[in-house]
Symmetry: C2
Subunit: 325 residues, 2 copies
């Protein structure tokens, strides 16, 4: 079987590819485990020296010909992660729609023409939610995104559901919490700070926190989100039924609680590297995001959250082989 990961050069996409290499198998159309013969990553750029077992194709997800060429007719599993992040889609309206909506449609249209309907897992986001929100969101909360990124993700979910209903794909959409701790550098995502406040201090540099320390974050670790992508793929179609979208479980952590956990794990000197530098633009976006969820559907389907923020920080230290001094 062949696997295709759009956004495979990105942090989550590449981690997912590594996880699939470890597993070696995924459920086929008949539900039975089948050996993965090829994992193809499609993205604008890739980490240096990617694993030679991975096929890396550089291209633009909004380029119809490129998507058609890259997505082989006998692909059986597609993970669609390619996206312009929230801050980016807000800053460049046209780019956001081109990548996050047009790109999505190209992938779906290509999937429709494959030799058999592939399983497709779509990375949606809790940025789907906004506006007048209840204190605790649940599986019945209606998305009312207050960013273009969120709107594009919700639209993507509806497309995935409709293409599934028509039998063109077997689709599943996951509303991802904010992923913490992301390695690497800060990016344009308004949520970038949520990783920076852990990552930068652990790497010996100061981190600017643009939001008040009472700000809550609904988060999931990279380990858990990769597990969620695989689990979403492996579930039988009947486990999803006519509702193809799920809010993933997560944990709610305030900036203050996060910094305290960082202090417990890595010491006062490290925690002291988090500095408050209010940024109205970021705060305006972040405060539209939901903070607390009940996720009974996801839990019943077997998705799981991290135990606590300390576990998340320790996982990052292990994965990135950071030496605490």
């Amino acid at each position: 079987m062949k696997v295709f990961i759009s956004g495979g050069g990105g942090f989550i996409g590449y981690r997912l590819a590594q996880r699939l290499l470890e597993r070696g198998t995924l459920a086929g159309a008949d539900g039975r485990q089948a050996a993965i013969g090829q994992i193809k990553l499609f993205d604008g750029a890739f980490p240096p020296n990617p694993d030679p077992r991975l096929v890396c194709v550089t291209g633009d997800i909004a380029d119809s010909a490129a998507v058609e060429r890259a997505l082989d007719a006998d692909t059986s599993s597609v993970f669609h992660l390619a996206a312009v992040v929230s801050g980016g889609a807000e800053a460049d309206f046209d780019l956001g729609y081109r990548v996050n909506l047009d790109g999505m449609r190209l992938v779906l249209e290509r999937c429709r023409k494959l030799s058999r309907p592939p399983r497709l897992v779509f990375a949606s986001s809790v940025a789907a939610f906004g506006g007048d929100l209840p204190e605790i969101l649940d599986d019945s909360t209606t998305p009312n995104p207050q960013t273009s990124y969120g709107a594009q993700k919700v639209i993507g979910e509806y497309l995935v559901t409709d293409f599934t209903r028509k039998g063109f794909i077997d689709g599943r959409s996951l509303r991802l919490p904010t992923i913490v701790v992301r390695p690497g550098k800060p990016n344009l995502a308004a949520s970038s700070f949520a990783s920076s406040i852990f990552r930068e201090p652990l790497n010996g540099v100061a981190a600017a926190c643009p939001v008040p320390d009472t700000t809550g974050i609904w988060l999931l670790s990279p380990r858990k989100v990769v597990e969620a992508f695989v689990h979403a793929h492996e579930l039988a179609s009947s486990a999803w039924g006519v509702n193809r979208v799920v809010n993933l479980p997560g944990i709610t952590v305030t900036v203050k609680e996060g910094v305290e956990a960082l202090r417990r794990v890595a010491g006062e000197a490290v925690a002291a590297r988090v500095q408050h530098q209010p940024e109205a633009r970021i705060e305006a976006i972040v405060k539209t995001w939901p903070v607390r969820f009940r996720t009974p559907r996801a839990l019943a389907m077997g998705f799981t959250a991290d135990r606590d923020i300390e576990t998340v920080i320790r996982g990052y230290i292990e994965d990135e082989r950071i030496t605490l001094r």
Copy 2:
């Protein structure tokens, strides 16, 4: 001020245009009533001999150049009604997406480039709802459409909301109940029977009813839907806030209740012209549609439903100048 009605050759669009001619004014960007200088209708076809005060432009809503040419830069009000109906979008997947999604985006993109952000009223539909539904839907029910038409309408709503949030338009989306009684001929809409069972008998011909007589319909009359479009336009932007979508009020009528009302209004001979001819394809679509709603938000905003189905039937008889024998 200039008004643009996409789908203006259709029954509702044309009625709306006639209503605007009667009114002569609409709220401008400042909220004050302004004289309507031009009403332009855009559609693939028009009724014969349209009112000479209307500007009728024949074109394809999914043709970018045609939309750009037709939608004048100084247009201040847009009513977007152009759509491939439910049965049509289900039968021709590509056509549905081309007209109902690509066409919608072209209109929105054009609106974004007008000299000032226009008010835009979008005709969405209760076909937005489907899947596992509560017995009575309300303003918090999450759309999970089970037709491509419904998916396209929900996607359109999210686009209207996002373009509004960005300040490109001042948008308002109305989820229309099934419109009853439509004049003219049956069409490809799966809901076509809901008008046929009244219209055909009143015009002296037999009507085939493809669904069981216990089937409930959530309906609104042509008079009330035209009133709703105008009202939606006239409301101040602040009346909508960050939620740009509303479920219109309606009434729930079963086929049986409808036929009984027809008997009371027009007599036994007319009512006897309704014949049951089950059609699995239609029933399968119709049974995914919601039947009962609570619509407190719409009522608080000043939208109103018809009093009862007899009133709806009598309105049709009056509007179409039908002589009962």
